[in-house]
Symmetry: C2
Subunit: 155 residues, 2 copies
Amino acid sequence: MAIEIERKFLVDQEKWQLVTKPEAMHFRQGYIFSDEKKTIRVRVTDTEAYITIKGSTAGFSRSEFEYTIPATDGVQLLDNFATSELEKYRYRITYAGKLWEVDEFLGDNQGLLMAEIELGSEDEEFELPPWVTTEVTGDDRYYNARLSIYPFKNW
Amino acid sequence: MAIEIERKFLVDQEKWQLVTKPEAMHFRQGYIFSDEKKTIRVRVTDTEAYITIKGSTAGFSRSEFEYTIPATDGVQLLDNFATSELEKYRYRITYAGKLWEVDEFLGDNQGLLMAEIELGSEDEEFELPPWVTTEVTGDDRYYNARLSIYPFKNW
C-alpha cells in the first residue's frame, strides 16, 4: 500500500496554452465500484493498464493500492464492468523541481483543466506554477470518480 | 481475461476422511464488492495474495481476471475494504487425471465441504471421485461471495 498525498488546482486555460509541454498521454479510465469509502478504478494508457483501489480522503491523503495489468485486460475490464468512465490527456511537467500532472479532460468534461502534485508529506512545501489558479483539493466535485458521473458540462 | 469453466459438488464427510490428502493451504478471502454482475475478491494464502474480478455465471462459465499482489497488500485490502470474509482450507488432489480442489470451510461455514473442477470446455468429460455427492454448480447459495454473507451455519 502507498499513501497518496496529493493537492489539486485548477489551471488557467490561457496561460496553459503558452507553456511548452511534452507530448500528452491519453488515459481512458472507469470505475468498477465507487462509494465514500473506496473506489476501484481501471485506467488504460497508450501502453499499459492499471487497477487501483483507493480509500477515502483524509486531509490531503488517501491509501492507494495500484497494480499494473495487461492493457488488453484493462480494456476488457472497462468494457465489461465499468459503471462510469472518463477520458483525458495527461501532461507531466516539472516546475521548480517538482513533478506536476496536468489533466486536460475530454468528452463531457471538456473545458476542465486540472493540475495535481504528489507530495511526500502533507506539509511539504512547493512553488505554485503561474498557470495554476484555485486549489480544489478535497472538493469532491473534482474527484475523477465523481466527474465520470457528474461531468463538468452539466455543472 | 480467462474464462473460468467450473463445476462444483458437495463432498461426503466420511469418505473424505479416508482419502490420502496433501497438505492443505489456508485461504482468507474477502469481497470488496459483489453484486449480480461482478465480484471483486481478495484472497490471501500462506505465501501470496490475489485480486480477482469475476463476471456473472452463464452455464458453467464466467469471466475471470486475476492478478498476484504482495501478501501484505492482500491483508491490508481485506482489513480496509472487505465487506465480508470467509476462511477455508484448500486441498488440491488429482483424481482420474484431473485436478480437484476441495475446500473445507472454517468459521461460520464450518461443516461445509465442497469440491471444484476446472474444465477446458463446458462439455469436457471427467470421472466423479467416489467422495463427491450432489452437484451444486449454479446454486448461488454455494458461491463463496454468498457464503461470506449467508454462512452455512445459518441455513
